[in-house]
């Protein structure tokens, strides 16, 4: 459920197909995941999981895998 939510957040925020949201996908490696889309993604994740991400975590969220790792720290199991 949470995994699907995470993928949906990425797909909708970045405007990419869900299949493209893999652990390996990295920030700034595709034109769709730029800094503006990143802040949209952060807002989507915060809304979906009802959390407030720390600024350090926003900066550190450099890949889908990293996003999972960070969200786990907010006690979200993926």
């Amino acid at each position: 459920m949470s995994q699907a939510t995470l993928i949906q957040c990425f797909a909708e925020s970045l405007g990419i197909p869900a299949e493209q949201v893999t652990d390996e996908l990295q920030y700034n490696t595709i034109p769709q995941w730029d800094s503006v889309a990143h802040m949209t993604l952060i807002a989507a994740l915060e809304d979906a999981f009802d959390i407030m991400l720390d600024t350090d975590d926003i900066i550190d969220m450099s890949s889908v895998a990293k996003a999972k790792e960070i969200l786990a720290r907010y006690e979200i199991s993926l």
């Binding site: 802040m39 952060i42 915060e46 600024t55």
Partner: protein
């Protein structure tokens, strides 16, 4: 058409920093009287709660927002607490500030650090979170307090003037960055206003300052609050990136 009796800030959720005295307190009171839900910021929980109680007792709606705005971690925790009460922010007033003047040859690094931490860095820390929360609702107004010393400079005030000039750069930059999210960012540049800060200067300097004001009187905190309410409200819906002087025609 808005009728005169309408409250300017009805149901708007507003955070006012440094709201336990001076200009911040005047803004908190005026905003509450205009129908806003005011989050009162200060470092001292007791003083903050006194102001909150006073606003609630006079028919307004207020809550505490206790943190040291110069400490990013303290700011973060205060926002987390805030989010348990409200998921949206309509207005952030970055008012908290200190004045600690010295001639340039006698300025200490600690003075520089402290002044910039409270007057400048805090504006960024507070705006970071507010902008994220406002962006979700695609609406918001950030009002920063700079100073005539920031726009014009003054002898003996390199540190204060620098810290306040930086607020102008922050204001104009954020206005550009956040316009896409319908967040407006403006600043007020007060002149000589009757607060503890103004009263802390030597009396001879005080008289000279009053003489430099074209209106020949010191301004009141309420006169700043009125402009803050204008910038916070929908009356200024198309105003962003502006620095509005409220100084009675002061020359410096």
């Amino acid at each position: 058409m808005r009728s005169v009796s309408d409250m300017l800030l009805k149901d708007k959720i507003c955070i006012v920093t440094g709201a336990t005295r001076g200009i911040g307190l005047a803004i908190a009171k005026f905003f509450a009287a205009q129908g806003a839900w005011v989050f009162v910021n200060g470092r001292d929980p007791q003083r903050v709660n006194e102001v909150v109680a006073e606003l609630n007792a006079s028919g307004g709606r207020a809550d505490a927002f206790v943190c040291d705005v110069a400490d990013p971690n303290s700011v973060k925790l205060a926002y987390k607490e805030f989010l348990t009460k409200s998921k949206t922010i309509d207005v952030l007033v970055n008012n908290a500030g200190i004045l600690d003047d010295a001639l340039i040859g006698m300025v200490t690094p600690a003075q520089i650090e402290r002044t910039f931490s409270i007057n400048t860095y805090a504006v960024l820390y507070m705006s970071q979170y507010a902008a994220r929360i406002m962006a979700k609702a695609k609406t918001g107004s950030i009002v920063n307090l700079t100073s005539i010393i920031g726009t014009n400079g003054n002898s003996g005030q390199a540190v204060y003037g620098g810290s306040k000039a930086a607020v102008i750069g922050i204001t104009k930059s954020l206005a550009k960055e956040l316009a896409v999210s319908h967040i407006r960012v403006n600043a007020i540049a007060p002149g000589f206003i009757d607060t503890d800060m103004a009263r802390s200067i030597p009396s001879a300097v005080f008289e000279t300052r009053v003489a430099s004001v074209a209106m020949k009187r010191i301004g009141t905190p309420e006169e700043i609050a009125g402009v803050a309410a204008f910038l916070a409200s929908d009356l200024s819906a198309y105003v962003t990136g502006q620095i509005i002087g409220v100084d009675g025609g002061m020359l410096i």
